[in-house]
């Protein structure tokens, strides 16, 4: 029964089997981009909320089977979200299988929730990229964050990391390519 804001996503998933509160922290870290991504793709905030419930229920059920050798937790969750998205697109409604197994009740969506989810949808794929950013190797994530999110100069980043600016450019380029590849790999065909 442990919860920590400093554990890695993989550690939180590992701890979930005995300490379900760890999953709460994992959920908080990722819920925004999952909601935004699904709402962006579905164009329906209420359905996106329903699918999001199913995504995290499925993640909770399979957290103990998460295998770090097969991918980072963010990619793993993105895979679940894409799978549930495909299913929702086919059926026109969210699956309920995982929630039924957990005995979860429905979670009502209020008008202010709709507004919030729609604002996340407008961020769309950018939210996904933010979620997947955590999965990049440390050296790529740091320079990519500094360059793209903080909009710092290559020279400035190079000085901070004591590496040549050309190396910074390479890492940024590789990081962006890795993000694009992760998103392409996981994207459902509709």
């Amino acid at each position: 029964m442990v919860d920590s804001d400093r554990q890695s996503d993989a550690e939180l998933l590992q701890a979930t089997a005995t300490e379900v509160e760890a999953f709460g922290v994992f959920y908080r870290r990722h819920v925004d981009w999952v909601l935004g991504f699904l709402a962006h793709r579905l164009g329906d905030a209420e359905l996106a909320a329903d699918v999001t419930s199913e995504v995290f229920a499925a993640a909770l059920l399979s957290a103990s089977r998460y295998d770090a050798t097969k991918g980072e937790p963010g990619s793993w969750l993105y895979g679940i979200a894409c799978h549930k998205l495909s299913s929702a697109v086919r059926r026109g409604a969210a699956e309920r299988r995982a929630r039924r197994r957990l005995g979860m009740g429905p979670v009502a969506v209020q008008p202010n929730d709709i507004e919030w989810i729609e604002s996340l949808a407008r961020a769309g794929q950018g939210q996904v990229a933010l979620g997947l950013l955590h999965d990049l190797p440390d050296d790529q994530r740091r320079v990519l964050t500094a360059r793209v999110l903080d909009e710092r100069e290559y020279g400035d980043i190079a000085a901070e990391h004591a590496i040549p600016p050309s190396t910074v450019r390479k890492r940024v380029s590789r990081g962006l390519a890795a993000l694009r590849a992760q998103m392409r790999e996981r994207e459902p065909s509709e």
Partner: protein
């Protein structure tokens, strides 16, 4: 953030707790059958009373197995191993509650302390804290190290552990007034206490949420935040522990410390623990070349804490240059010249995995190079022994050159918390 996000979290956690309870019932049923079939095993129940004369004292634990793995214990018969040893000085320096002498009130039964990752309970460091009518035991224990990113390995590792995988000290909390089985959970490691990041939340029997934060000396109150638009929770600190029992809800995501005057305390303001690093706790990087700016050659080194505890390094490294087996007769200048910082050495606290940096720099030989350094011997202050590292190469411009006459001065910076701190403007 919206109500939907909070409600979904509550639904998920409630469902997860129900699922875990179902698993426990199934496991208990299976265990009962096993116990009945294995007569004699159950006789050992009740032996787990530690440290206080309330029962038989368990044998101090043997040396930890190298890989720090132990098989899951049978909850019906296990006795937590204990040790009379002392925990890390770093942890004791942070937590006054552990430094105060034990009293009769600290004598508690630790029956059933069978948390698999615990490799040894520090029997002299059990303290009971009574706050707002709630009694909680702080139990200090040595916990199995992390392996391959997983907190607790489920099976023995197939290969020898990577360096740096060590057992570490952690504080466990037991809610003494909760119905059995008592709620017990890992509260914090020394590094987490120092970093201010450990918030633990548990739901003991009765549907109450127990939130605990272990804080270092000097923190009088903590405030938890649960996300945007959520009310914050203020908790007074007693004996390094803040406790509250709000209704179950979202998990806390951040904690702020306050001193007795209400001023915010940042963990960077904590006194440096002052526990010197040992040779086994440090690793030295190979030299890395820094592009010359004004004719100098400079290399930087990182000294990394590979242990599981905080420790401190301080001062100027001692540097010897070798050309093959020949010691080059250069002069060493500590913190002088244009290439390294002139700032005085200060203690650098190293959390597990973090590094201190220093620079070795020398002006190039303009006329004639007599020899080029092929390796370094580096000594870190207070650490016996030396590290040998090959010089950067093979380009001549990337090795320290020795030339006769003046100018054979090698500048060494003090150890600093960042590479920038080791440079002239650091």
């Amino acid at each position: 953030m919206t109500d939907f996000v909070d409600r979904l979290e509550q639904e998920l956690l409630a469902a997860g707790r129900r699922a875990r309870a179902r698993r426990r019932v199934r496991a208990a049923a299976a265990l009962a059958v096993t116990a009945l079939l294995s007569l004699g095993v159950v006789g050992a129940v009740g032996a787990a009373i530690l440290s206080s004369g309330h029962g038989p004292r368990p044998t101090p634990t043997a040396a930890l197995p190298q890989h720090c793995w132990q098989p899951p214990r049978d909850p019906a018969s296990a006795v937590a191993p204990s040790t009379d040893a002392s925990p890390s000085t770093a942890l004791l320096s942070l937590l006054g509650v552990l430094r105060r002498p034990a009293t009769n009130g600290d004598r508690i039964s630790l029956r059933g302390l069978i948390y698999t990752p615990i490799t040894a309970v520090y029997s002299r460091y059990v303290r009971v804290v009574d706050t707002d009518g709630m009694r909680v035991a702080l139990v200090l224990a040595q916990v199995c190290g992390r392996v391959r990113g997983s907190p607790y390995p489920a099976r023995p590792p197939a290969s020898p552990p990577r360096s740096g995988v060590r057992p570490y000290d952690a504080i466990f909390l037991i809610a003494l007034d909760a119905p059995r089985p008592r709620a017990m959970f890992e509260a914090a490691t020394a590094a987490q206490v120092e970093a201010g990041g450990a918030i633990r939340q548990a739901w003991p029997e009765g549907g109450r949420s127990l939130v605990a934060v272990v804080v270092p000396d000097g923190v009088a109150r903590v405030e938890l935040s649960f996300g945007t638009h959520q009310p914050r929770l203020s908790m007074p600190v007693r004996d390094n522990l803040a406790l509250a029992t709000p209704s179950p809800g979202p998990s806390a995501v951040a904690v702020t410390w306050y001193d007795s005057s209400g001023r915010t305390i940042h963990h960077e303001q904590l006194p440096v623990p002052g526990v010197p690093c040992t040779a086994q706790e440090l690793d030295l990087s190979s030299p890395r070349f820094i592009s010359p700016m004004a004719g100098e050659h400079a290399d930087w080194f990182a000294v990394t804490n590979i242990s599981a505890r905080n420790c401190t390094v301080e001062g100027y490294p001692t540097v010897y240059l070798y050309a093959g087996t020949r010691l080059l007769p250069v002069s060493i200048a500590r913190g002088s010249g244009p290439y390294v910082t002139h700032a005085r050495p200060r203690p650098v606290a190293l959390a597990p995995g973090s590094s201190a940096y220093f620079i070795v720099a020398k002006y190039r030989c303009d006329v004639q190079t007599v020899a080029a350094a092929s390796s370094f011997a580096i000594l870190i202050p207070g650490i016996p022994g030396e590290w040998r590292r090959d010089a950067v190469g093979p380009s001549d411009s990337q090795v320290l050159q020795y030339c006769q006459g003046p100018g054979n001065v090698v500048a060494v910076s003090p150890l600093g918390p960042s590479l920038r701190a080791a440079r002239p403007l650091g």
